[in-house]
Symmetry: C2
């Protein structure tokens, strides 16, 4: 739907200029990233270059570039002469990541002296997306929206480097969260908490908002760690793998 006006030297060069203009290696990296973040490729899975490259119809060299990209994002782990495998989050990793979440998200809230309507709108979108995904039992998508909501809080720092770093870190966490048992515990319990955070934020009640957020992060961390330790919070003791 290119809306072309009667404008002379215009904006319609942009379209392809940024979309079709990514190298195949980047595209392959995006595809693999998506598969990891959606839980289709589980941590520990080892990837072999030749079959993987063939399955995507690219050359081995291109596939190597793609895996190089993802290994620099910590989504893949490369052991020399032993191949690449999907990274596995350790308990220490999770604690480290939650340390960062507390530090950066809370500081983000407290720095939100002004709250652009655009960000608030994206927060609402993530809120609704999460609710819908939970309703539809789409766990990977729900996790995506959950973490998307939190990632948006980093926007208030107005720092692109920090945003991109945080995006990568949240990606690591997402990789670990999508594969906890989908019925781990009430995913819908998050909805009112997130809504509360949004309301306090939108109202400019930053201190209270930060307090609620901190509690929420603590809960989230201990819940995840409990699951990773092998004991599902409350429900069944289903064994995967």
């Amino acid at each position: 739907m290119t809306r072309v006006r009667s404008n002379p030297p215009g904006p319609f060069l942009m379209e392809r200029s940024q979309i079709h203009r990514v190298s195949i290696a980047d595209q392959v990296a995006s595809i693999l990233r998506q598969r990891i973040l959606n839980g289709e490729l589980r941590p520990g899975t080892s990837l072999q270059e030749v079959p993987l490259a063939a399955s995507l119809g690219v050359s081995r060299n291109t596939m190597r570039e793609a895996t190089r990209i993802l290994s620099l994002e910590n989504l893949l782990k490369r052991s020399i002469h032993r191949g690449v495998a999907v990274s596995q989050l350790s308990l220490k990793d999770v604690q480290e990541i939650y340390h960062l979440r507390r530090m950066l998200e809370i500081a983000g809230i407290l720095a939100a002296k002004e709250r652009p309507s655009e960000v608030l709108s994206e927060l609402r979108t993530a809120l609704e997306g999460y609710a819908r995904a939970v309703r539809e039992r789409d766990w990977p998508r729900a996790v995506g929206f959950d973490l998307q909501f939190h990632s948006l809080l980093i926007r208030f720092h107005h720092n692109r480097r920090l945003e991109s770093f945080y995006q990568r870190v949240i990606g690591e966490l997402r990789m670990g969260m999508v594969l906890v048992d989908r019925g781990h515990d009430h995913p819908s319990a998050l909805i009112p908490v997130h809504r509360k955070i949004y309301q306090l934020l939108a109202a400019g009640n930053l201190k209270s908002c930060a307090a609620v957020l901190e509690q929420h992060l603590d809960d989230s961390e201990s819940r995840l760690i409990r699951v990773m330790n092998g004991q599902p919070p409350k429900r069944r003791t289903k064994r995967t793998v």
Copy 2:
């Protein structure tokens, strides 16, 4: 500064093992990184794959992997079908980086409830290294020690991801700092400030230390920005490029 994973065992592996245990692409990336951070490759310089690969005795594919690594570190900028060039820091970049420095270094100080002697020792090493480099008029090395001192403050967060992120960010800044006019202004003026920061830190006087550090960062930023704006702080008006 390539961090090597577990390095407990061998002493005499250095020669081959340390070097050979890393892919050639990584080695090439390290070499180029070093050249950029030392100012041998100035921002804006465009790099051509074939001659560069030939000059280092590696294949074009390997060189591409190396430039891919560095472009993900923001040291090189890749424009599709136009080649790679050494990145150029804008004023906005500098402000963004100093925003991060204030946020992370100060928080690091304030988190230093315990101060392992190992870190203190490394801080002293950086301190002395800086003084020696200034004495020897080795500006790139001085910048390296200066920023090394500050990077060490991030250790107190005890967060590997944060450390590695900060290392990259500081790398970007270093790239920009090494090529300011070497006689920009009294590089030796930093010595007492750094020493003061070290002393307050070692004494556990964290609040005062953070205050001095904040002032130091403010000074450092405004000095760098003044230079980048074309007006050297005091001395000659030498024009580069």
